[in-house]
């Protein structure tokens, strides 16, 4: 069985500005149909990579392809399948929202019969239907929502979003995230953000870029699992002191401390600990009121990967 073509594939991608290296041999594939979160501190190279993917900049070396098409060779053609929202979108201030989305639709080749209905649906999605004022008078949030609408007008196979929720209020942010999640399976969404909660909420796969280098690339669940410290907290009914002493002698216990009926255990082998802790509780005829495996948050993962230097 052949491997499906990734939506985005970058190989040894390097971009230098004079002596500064913005991207340093970055390599990854984004599976088609997935929601991909692109994380990194300011200046990590996220926007540079997005600029290369949209044809606004060229790599110093390495390659970038979208759906198997090399951007250096057939960039204009492949852009028909891409929708893009920059971090600060620039619109023609003399146009209305409907005019701009319609203009964007004609640029990407949406047929004349389909365009009016699609423009109306997208303006509904952006909460801008019926807004007849010119874009010049819009707030940043309105522009951001209009940016999402214009990026979607060509029904793109790949949606590239640079900080799409940064200027939105909580409701607008939730709506955009729901819209992104609803595209899963149909459209590949590649979005860069600083808001880790957004990534945790909607992304399947995550890449963390740090000073131009790919510091991590995995599914959200696996990244969190790998970063977890394999800690267990338990609360028992009865005297936990004897339980504490019994567990201390087990070879997989790296550390254990007790606070009344609560035990905190750092385990070298989490699977073994998950089996033997309840057995020990039962053998001492204690009640188990709480058993919890601590999970690292994406923020912990991010800080650990990037480190304080990168923040």
């Amino acid at each position: 069985m052949s491997t499906p073509t990734p939506a985005v594939s970058v190989r040894a991608l390097t971009k230098r500005f004079g002596n500064a290296t913005a991207l340093d041999r970055v390599e990854f594939d984004v599976p088609a149909g997935s929601v991909f979160g692109f994380l990194g501190p300011n200046g990590a190279g996220k926007t540079t990579l997005l600029r290369i993917l949209t044809g606004l900049a060229r790599p110093t070396s390495g390659t970038a392809s979208v759906f198997g098409v090399d951007l250096g060779e057939r960039g204009t053609e492949i852009r028909r399948r891409i929708g893009f929202l920059p971090d600060v979108p620039g619109f023609y201030p003399w146009m209305t929202a409907a005019e701009f989305v319609s203009f964007a639709g004609r640029l990407v080749g949406v047929d004349v019969a389909t365009l009016p209905g699609r423009v109306e649906a997208l303006l509904d999605l952006a909460g801008l239907n019926g807004v007849s004022t010119r874009i010049g008078g819009y707030s940043r949030g309105m522009k951001q929502r209009l940016g999402v609408a214009q990026a979607l007008v060509g029904a793109p196979d790949l949606l590239l979003l640079d900080e799409p929720t940064s200027a939105l209020d909580p409701i607008g942010r939730r709506e955009v995230l729901e819209m992104i999640a609803s595209l899963r399976g149909r459209t590949t969404v590649f979005f860069s953000t600083h808001i880790l909660a957004d990534v945790e909420r909607v992304c399947d796969t995550v890449a963390i870029l740090d000073r131009g280098r790919l510091a991590a690339f995995d599914t959200v669940a696996d990244l969190k699992r790998r970063a977890a410290t394999e800690r267990i907290s338990i609360v028992v009914d009865g005297d936990a002191a004897e339980l504490c002493e019994r567990l201390r002698s087990r070879p997989w216990v790296q550390a254990i401390d007790r606070d009344g009926a609560t035990l905190r255990i750092v385990a070298a082998d989490l699977a073994l600990a998950c089996r033997e802790v309840p057995e020990a509780v039962a053998s001492l005829r204690l009640g188990l009121r709480r058993f919890e495996v601590d999970e690292a948050s994406l923020e912990e993962v991010f800080v650990r990967v990037v480190g304080e230097k990168g923040r």
């Binding site: 204009t76 640029l107 080749g109």
Partner: protein, 254 residues
């Protein structure tokens, strides 16, 4: 040329709905109406000026329709040309600095199409309003002066249009090559100065587009003018400069 049509239509609508409609077209129509009036009133104004200075006597011939044509062409060649430089300086650089070029160029439109659409929209604007303004100038001249043949004015405006088209292509290139509107306008003024300087060298006047200014004056004065070389070199230069603008823009990072 993917996306060319949509972008060209957007350019025309932008001209119609922003300040751009008031600058070049507005100036042309203003000069079309006022040039014959100024030509008519100039002798009276000068006589009045001389009358207020004892001992000065100025003899001025009666104004004619040819003076009105001359005034209109002078305004086109000087003031409208300067306006073309200032307006043209922002053709591409303004889109780049406002970020609008990014949203457009991440759609399937080539950068060559982007440049060409801007240039052609500007040329269409120039052509349409030069024609309207010339008709208006002819009509006002006809109202104020005895009948005069229209051919010299039509010919002179046509030659001026060729030099203006070349200037628009130069400004498109400057607007691509320089990141700011000010720098592009400065380069455009440099081009204008260089052509003025070159016009003192007879071979340049005879065999290159530098001779267009001289040709305008001759055509307006119904004198014989050899315009083959100036027109041909202007057309070739305009095409070459436009191609260079597209080539440079294709290689720029945004």
């Amino acid at each position: 040329m993917s996306g060319f049509g949509a972008f060209f239509v957007k350019e025309l609508r932008e001209i119609a709905r922003t300040w751009r409609i008031w600058v070049i077209p507005g100036m042309m129509l203003f000069f079309a109406v006022t040039s014959p009036i100024v030509a008519l009133l100039t002798p009276t104004m000068l006589a009045s000026l001389a009358g207020s200075q004892p001992g000065i006597e100025i003899t001025i011939p009666d104004p004619t329709g040819a003076d009105a044509y001359g005034q209109f062409i002078k305004n086109l060649s000087q003031l409208v040309t300067l306006a073309l430089i200032i307006a043209g300086a922002g053709l591409v650089s303004a889109e780049r600095s406002a970020g609008t070029a990014i949203l457009v160029l991440t759609k399937p439109i080539s950068r060559s199409a982007f440049v060409l659409a801007k240039l052609l929209a500007e040329l269409l604007l120039l052509l349409v309003f030069a024609a309207i303004a010339t008709m208006v100038c002819l009509a006002v001249t006809r109202l104020l002066f005895p009948p005069l043949a229209a051919a010299p004015l039509l010919g002179a405006v046509a030659v001026w249009l060729v030099s203006a088209a070349l200037l628009v292509s130069v400004m498109t290139f400057c607007s691509v090559a320089f990141p700011s509107r000010g720098a592009a306008a400065g380069a455009g003024l440099g081009y204008l100065f260089a052509t003025l300087l070159a016009s003192i060298w007879p071979p340049a006047v005879r065999y290159s587009f530098v001779g267009l200014s001289d040709g305008i004056a001759k055509v307006l004065g119904s004198k014989p003018a050899e315009l083959g070389w100036p027109l041909a070199t202007a057309a070739i230069a305009a095409v070459a400069i436009t191609a260079a603008a597209a080539w440079v823009f294709e290689r720029q990072e945004l």
